[in-house]
Symmetry: C2
Subunit: 175 residues, 2 copies
């Protein structure tokens, strides 16, 4: 069924979505480094969550992996990590989303985010929240969230460092 809401159309089959697999570990480590968006300490945290995601139980962290639709081997070109905020009865946090630098702008990020929202909605979740940074290098990231229907709900001045704010975005899911 076509989705007619403005701003939420996706390119046809930008990506195939699947679960996290052990073979993704190395691919995602290289992918995270290749984006040149994250500090080493941030990548270390991202990899800890990936390792948790590969462990039975998973500690409440859920994953969606995107592979290029035209890649028969289904190699990861992006992923998202999310989970229910344990203090809330229906707010899910998007902990991480990253797309291979070479695949950026091709709809992979949007496909991942739309998939996460579907999973969350199917689980009875009310909204998805995202925390990100206010610095200039994150401008494309913020524009992406806004284009995907998220709105800024909080801005914590100087949170990460003086002059580097924390921004919080939210999208309410229709039930």
């Amino acid at each position: 069924m076509p989705n007619s809401s403005p701003g939420s159309s996706t390119p046809p089959k930008a990506a195939v979505l699947r679960g996290l697999e052990p073979r993704d570990r190395e691919t995602l480590a290289l992918l995270l480094q290749g984006t040149e968006m994250f500090y080493a300490a941030e990548i270390a945290v991202a990899m800890e969550l990936i390792d948790l995601g590969l462990t039975p139980g998973g500690g409440g962290y859920e994953f969606a992996v995107a592979a290029a639709a035209n890649d028969p081997e289904g190699r990861a070109v992006g992923y998202a990590c999310f989970g229910l905020n344990p203090m809330s009865d229906g707010v899910f946090d998007l902990y991480w989303i990253a797309v291979d630098r070479r695949a950026q702008g091709s709809g992979v990020g949007r496909a991942l985010l739309t998939h996460v929202e579907s999973v969350v909605a199917g689980r009875g979740g009310r909204s998805v929240m995202i925390e990100t940074g206010g610095k200039a290098s994150y401008a494309p990231t913020r524009a992406f969230y806004l284009a995907c229907g998220y709105r800024e709900v909080a801005r914590l001045l100087d949170f990460f460092r003086v002059g580097d704010d924390k921004l919080m975005y939210e999208k309410r899911l229709s039930s």
Copy 2:
């Protein structure tokens, strides 16, 4: 040296501050239940942090315990749990603060919070952040933070449950 800033005077010697000790565990469990402010799941989390605080290393959770100034046995009548937010270079989160119901209104909470701020400032911390709830039963808690110089910096509507917002308060510490 007297503190002349408005609203920050404390009653003389409301409490003696000290570190967390193993004997506090049972006292604090009863204290948390006695406040009738927390859900069982919240108390379970608070006790997990207390157990971490009693473990060498402590996982980044720091504690201040208040005892009544006139109690020779120094029994805990309140405590605070706080720590550096690992994403920030100088923002400390106040994870928990609770005062024995029978000691509320006697300046113990303010003494605890002032002490936490001193420790944070001495550690080079820039600010203290507190998350709390927007529901009516938390009105005295919110009034307490405002009276202690905190200001609301974010309000996440319906965060905990529909109609139950999450509020974030911050106090910038002068360096």
